[in-house]
Amino acid sequence: MSSIPHDHVAGHGHDAHDHRPSGIMRWVTTTNHKDIGTLYLWFSFTMFLVGGVMALTIRAELFQPGLQVVHPEFFNQLTSLHGLIMVFGAIMPAAVGFANWMIPLLIGAPDMAFARMNNWSFWLLPPAAILLITSLFVPGGSVSAGWTMYPPLTIEAGMGMDLVIFAVHIMGASSIMGSINIITTILNLRAPGMTLMKMPLFCWTWLITAYLLIAVMPVLAGAVTMLLTDRHFGTSFFNAAGGGDPVLFQHIFWFFGHPEVYIIILPAFGIISEILPVYSRKPLFGYASMVYAVAGIAILSFIVWAHHMFTVGMPTAGLLFYMYATMLIAVPTGVKVFNWLATMWKGSITFETPMLFALGFLFLFTMGGFTGLVCAIMPVDIQIHDTYYVVAHFHYVMVAGSLFAFFGGVYHWIPKWTGTMYSEKIGQWHFWLSLVFFNVAFFPQHFLGLAGMPRRIPDYATQFTDWNMVSSIGAFGFGLSQLVFLWAVIKCVRGDGEKAPAKPWEGATTLEWTLPSPVPYHTFETPPVVK
């Protein structure tokens, strides 16, 4: 808040208010939403590479049957940390980075509502990441029970587990602060005339995501705190010998974990809803029903968690309830997909890189949605639960879903952020390489899962060899393709490319395109008026 009066005073001399510490201190002390957005995005990309190297090590081990590259114990640590790092270190911070950069620009606000808390919520993340990564080097190694951290395995684990628990606490605190900031910004700092139902859809998806985060991050914190006290202070929440129940952890974890899935995908839905109308040169179809669909998905996400636990031996009534509730999610999700198609229908479509990623998202996310429906059918899930089918399913929705949407978002907005157009050629290469290698890596995993290959194993029976080889080749191709993305971004950051006009996209209508490119350090000090 303190930066706002400061901006008004300094507003007289336009260049004067731009003063700030230089070098590293600029980034450590910044309260500017654009700086913090940039920090989030670079942090996220760094963690994406760290988690990616882990994934490639896993795929190298799985290239052939037998043990070649890593020991089983270290393999388990890799799968566990890959999951935690990608979910908490890569995808979620990327979404918050977009929120920081774009929400104030999309609603005509000068900055985020709580500028200093914004700084704090970012700077909590690097210590959490350091805890996660150093946990690999303590005696006993890191968490090896999967990113889901199921007890009793996590109760017996070494001190690396404690570091992971504290990292989860810290990242949770960061997410909650970020969410409070986003909610307050959206509810209080919209430009005059911008009613809630006129907001760009990205703001709506983030508003709902922020409420989900506030509802479930404390639940996760509670679950890992109970693990901590079971480990060190003699409680027995999850220990049957002391009157507890290991399955209780799963219920608490997935009460967090299922809304978490939507925390990951809803901001991506928002970005897709911004991109498709621009390159179709046509307004978003069914705006109101999009808002209701997102809200519906969010509400349903609280009553479906036990579909992650169809094999724990629930009573019949529980199985039926969670199956029906889960299947219902297909309805609002279907509405969103149909609305996106109708947005393109009879538009005037062009295929710049952001649009390609949005179309890739639509195609592959829908495939992940179909496999989700297959998993929802409890009798079928009995066969594919904890197999590679599930691994394929959630990578279709998280990588080809969220990550593709974020790539699209970066290409869409990077001219505004840096003032330089990205290279269309490099962008298209990045898209096509990612699309092909993603499918080579993950499509065969459906077959592996159906044929009976469990997930989280370092070695497998020989009939799974061929598809594992194909998958590993795809994974390495996908991983290397991301260096193309890095190249495209660095070119823009260095100003190596065509200078971006204020509105590089013909069909763009939202407020950020009324500002010059690159966008000035302080924007909308006088709120725009929205009719």
């Binding site: 395995l153 179809f285 069914g286 094999t311 005037s348 062009t350 179309l359 829908t366 009798p379 066969q383």
Partner: protein, 378 residues
Amino acid sequence: MERTSKGIRGQRLAAATFAALSGLPGVALAAREWNLQTPVTEIARQQYELHTFIFWICVIIFVGVFGVMFYSLFKHRKSVGHQAEQFHENTVVEIVWTVVPFLILFFMAYPATKTILAMKDTTASELTIKVTGYQWKWNYDYLQDGFGYYSNLTTPLAQIENREPKGEHYLLEVDNPMVVPVDTKVRVLITAGDVLHAWWVPAFGVKQDAIPGFVRDSWFRAEKVGTFRGQCAELCGKEHGFMPVVVEVKSKEDYAKWAAEQKAKVASAAEDPSKVWDEKALAERGEKVFAANCAACHQATGKGVPGAFPALDGSKLVLGPTAAQIALVLNGKAGTAMASFKQLSNTDLASVITYTRNAWSNKTGQAIQPAEIQAARK
């Protein structure tokens, strides 16, 4: 059966088409690596057919939805000069595409519900086997027949570490598989001794988490004789990938023979009351029985506690006729602290009596045989 095999073939074709469409390299593969394993129980067959049914619904929707998308991408391109229309709402269409998916879901949920009800019905089982998961092996306990055993991976380390070529059932082979009769409803009680595991046999359609401290159940009725293989399906530590589940389905006659052998093995391992022991072996065992049951009162020294518990060292009873001592130990002595010890086995009683007759200063040199105890029991 006719209907099933057609379904399976159809699905394989579909999977192949699907893969070809997504541009995967043409790797030659056996059909079983594409799809669910061939079912050998009614439940697994229902799961298979449900999956096929839902797969085809998804394919149809997929083709419909993306047909529309690709039509739009070709026809409504700016490069072909298409002008954008500006409509952004249509209530009728929006209601239709909300209601129609709902109806489709109803048709998916109906057969799924029937299968769930069948899966959960564990009543009227003919054989109950308790399955316990340990790091990293399974234990099978045949509760009704009183025998049980562990089932361990037999794949040699040299194969896992690539020093030897891998065998046919690499990682899916064990020393002692679970053995069940064909066409018999088998109820499995599943639990764990340490951390979570999951007992999974794909061909049976059974996957149930093994939870330490809790017992869950499931069931199957295998319709075919043969060997069926699965794996632990819940991460259970470093050897999680190395604890396979192998079930051997035998004909009812072969199963009865196998079960009889197992029972005989248990019986032969147990004590034989007609066996004749020598004095030294009996006394050695008897010392332990004495320490566990007698020494609290009569003391390890055999001197007893004067005034409370009589001494055995030099006791007239102990050094007298054997029948009186056996009767006393078996039945106790009313009105005193000497209780009946008939709950001990014949061998234990024979040993402990032999011990008292030869320990301390008692040197009778007599050996009391289990058969004598047996004879003295009413």
